[in-house]
């Protein structure tokens, strides 16, 4: 995805990575680089000039063009090395001008932890006092190159959070291995924010993680199962507001409807005599549609002819069927055709319709 351009001159000349929980995991960092030049620039590439073992630039961000007084957000990826030493690097941006800004990259020393606990933090949803949350899974990872002896897994207070199915201690973990998942559960004893700490103790010392959750006394009311859904239409009503429910299985609309089109059938300046309307519909049940043709001449009342057409069968099998209107001879240069249905007059699903006409000579005037 191309890098994001934002307005304004913003600059973050360094990206600091705090490190991930295990070697090989990636962490994403961002920097903002401004166009401080007097004209537009196009950044064509971002190169890691040193620190390539740790840092990389995700593909697809370039080229990106910046106008003066714009900045761009660039993404950089840090892949956690196996050791816990700090790392530094440099990102150099190549542009179509001599302007070639640099961004410093830094990984803080000290990660990863040796006996690490995943996830690094556990937040449970708000749970009613006395009830229990769903289980959250956790694992312990030996991220070092030598065996690790885990001597204890314990909660500091243990009143609201519980460990379920943890491995029996002590046990030894081979290098770069993970325990089977075990569970944590939240059962608040009082209302409000609840905290605890789970500590995994190994021959490398203790490793602590925070558990958090909230206790509530919510008394749910007017509950629904969610087994049935409906589309509700609230209407202003005639002084009495109301709500109607849409029926997804019926298009037998309770209101009248229509679609209208003025035709000259690409034969301007010629009279046309509309003779017939044929078409196809989807059989969703018996219905009645009406075709109304109207022509207009100056100084004369509108000439209109209407034909009702019964469509559909009791089979309502979705089969495509044909309809033909009664002949509706009506002449004019322009003919307005309205297809309508009355309220509750059956489901209508038109696939196509074909007005058929005869050319009837040039228009003399008066249309």
């Amino acid at each position: 995805m191309p890098a994001t351009v934002i307005s304004g001159i913003w600059s973050s000349p360094i990206i600091i990575f705090t490190g991930t929980d295990a070697a090989g995991l990636a962490e994403t960092g961002f920097c903002v680089v401004p166009n401080t030049q007097n004209g537009p620039i196009t950044i064509t590439a971002g190169n890691i000039t040193f620190g390539t073992a740790t840092f990389s630039v995700p593909a697809g961000q370039f080229p990106v063009t910046l106008n003066p007084n714009q900045s761009v957000i660039i993404q950089v990826t840090m892949t956690q090395p196996a050791d816990s030493l700090g790392k530094i690097g440099n990102l150099n941006l190549v542009t179509n001008t001599p302007y070639s800004p640099n961004v410093a990259l830094s990984l803080i020393a000290g990660n990863p932890n040796l006996a690490d606990f995943f996830p690094s933090q556990l937040s449970f949803p708000i749970t009613k006092v006395g009830q229990s949350s769903t289980f959250a899974n956790a694992v312990i990872v030996n991220t070092q190159n030598t065996p690790l002896t885990v001597s204890n897994i314990a909660l500091t207070t243990g009143t609201d959070f519980f460990i379920v199915g943890a491995p029996v201690v002590p046990f030894v973990m081979a290098p770069s291995t993970t325990t089977a998942p075990f569970s944590l559960q939240f059962t608040p004893t009082v209302v409000g924010s609840r905290l605890d700490t789970i500590t995994v103790t190994s021959n490398n010392g203790p490793e602590a993680r925070t558990l958090s959750g909230g206790g509530s006394t919510l008394q749910s009311a007017f509950n629904l199962t969610g087994g049935v859904q409906g589309s509700l239409f609230a209407l202003s009503g005639g002084g009495v507001p109301l709500i109607l429910l849409a029926n997804p299985n019926s298009i037998n609309t309770e209101e009248p409807g229509s679609f209208v089109r003025l035709h000259d059938w690409q034969m301007p300046n010629y009279e046309k005599k509309l003779m017939r309307i044929r078409g196809h519909y989807e059989d969703l049940g018996p219905a009645t549609i009406s075709f109304k043709a109207r022509a207009r001449r100056i100084g004369q009342p509108d000439e209109t002819i209407q034909a009702n057409v019964s469509i559909g069968t009791a089979f309502a099998d979705g089969w495509l069927r044909e309809f033909t209107s009664e002949p509706v001879p009506l002449s004019g240069e322009l003919i307005q055709l309205t297809c309508s249905r009355a309220a509750n007059s059956g489901p209508v699903s038109i696939i196509d319709y074909t007005p058929q006409f005869e050319p009837a000579g040039e228009v003399i005037g008066g249309t």
Partner: protein, 370 residues
């Protein structure tokens, strides 16, 4: 004798009003009412049948919503107009029954409101406001509760990085002593606590008055990473900073007095990380990076209806379906006065019209009914 035929078939082109009919596609129409252009067909729209024939207090329903509470229970609710002392909220149960929710005691002078609502969901609670009562929320219980120490209320709500955000603030709430309207104010709660608004109690709460913009706030939504503060003729963007003391930075897309903005406040409708709004010159779909005009060649009729609006507020909503059995992703723009709802279908990219002899549409939503 052989007649000249001209077949009109799908995919149909919807209503075209901006060009002479001779220039419109042959499968376009001058008007389509209570028919949907759907899946290559011209279909009569779904039937609407009786559900709730009257609303408690005989008030207009302004919002229909649903949520799951902290105990995991599902709820559907209505928000209605209200006078001072009336409840604005009702829970639906099978029957159907609209069960009124009790409200807290009100400060002296507190007024009701007939404005449209906006809502925001955070931590299994639904916060809502319409410029009347103090910012309130539903948590699944049988009561409406006010949002902690909120200084008042607002017209528009959003959520970003665990902050509940109010926009177009009224502080204190309408009718209370000293109540003042701040049409360019954005206020955010403490991080992770939508009941805490006092910056002295929790420094992650705060506010910002957009003093450098020429127009008032008309909506707010979060699309992906940033929150967009919509104005009549422009947009201001709130970017999360990750810093507790100053959690948002504000950038104005535009400071020009004229331009593309959410001109009709409640026309803004959000769906996942994109939205639709009505500006002065067109109707746009916005995905956070690009604006796509969707008014097409139907603008003339739509804007004629917008100009004829009277009596109530224009509003829009994006609807994915009329329950799962009838997929129909569309934007519905209701215009009281002409009492019509213009419907833009995203699958077919066309406009049609909806109306009812029961008046104009005031809310629509697919919710739990049992």
């Amino acid at each position: 004798m052989t007649y000249h035929p001209q077949t009109i078939r799908g995919p149909f082109a919807g209503i075209v009003s901006d060009t002479p009919f001779t220039e419109a596609p042959p499968n376009a129409f001058d008007d389509i009412l209570n028919f949907f252009v759907r899946k290559g067909r011209m279909q009569s729209r779904p039937q609407l049948g009786a559900y709730l024939p009257t609303i408690p207090n005989n008030q207009i329903v302004r919002y229909i919503g649903k949520f799951k509470d902290a105990n995991g229970n599902l709820h559907s609710f209505l928000l209605t107009n209200y006078t001072a002392g009336q409840t604005p909220a009702y829970m639906l149960t099978a029957g159907p029954v609209a069960n009124p929710l009790t409200i807290p005691g009100l400060p002296a002078g507190q007024q009701g409101s007939n404005q449209l609502f906006t809502d925001a969901h955070i931590q299994n609670q639904v916060f809502f406001a319409n410029g009347g009562y103090p910012l309130a929320y539903l948590d699944g219980s049988n009561t409406v509760q006010f949002a902690g120490d909120t200084p008042g209320t607002c017209l528009f709500l959003a959520v970003n990085v665990s902050h509940l955000i109010q926009a177009y603030c009224i502080e204190p709430a309408a009718g209370q002593a000293g109540s003042t309207v701040f049409p360019r104010r954005v206020r955010w709660s403490a991080s992770g606590n939508a009941l805490e608004w006092n910056t002295l109690t929790d420094f992650t709460a705060g506010s910002n008055d957009l003093l450098d913009v020429p127009d008032d706030i008309t909506g707010i939504n979060t699309l992906g990473y940033p929150t967009y503060v919509w104005r009549s003729n422009g947009i201001t963007v709130m970017y999360p900073t990750g810093q507790g003391l100053s959690p948002f930075q504000f950038y104005n897309y535009s400071l020009a007095p004229d331009g593309v903005g959410n001109f009709f406040p409640y026309s803004l409708a959000t769906y996942t990380n994109w939205c639709v709004f009505v500006a002065q010159d067109n109707i746009y779909r916005f995905d956070g990076s690009s604006m796509t005009p969707i008014g097409g060649t139907t603008k003339k009729k739509i804007y004629a209806d917008l100009a004829a609006n009277n009596g109530d507020q224009i509003w829009g909503r994006i609807v994915p379906n009329f329950t799962l059995g009838y997929d129909f992703l569309c934007y519905m723009l209701t215009i009281p006065g002409p009492n019509v709802t213009w419907i833009y279908t995203f699958d077919d990219g066309q406009w049609v019209r909806f109306n009812s002899s029961q008046g104009y549409l005031t809310a629509v939503r697919t919710v739990y009914t049992n």
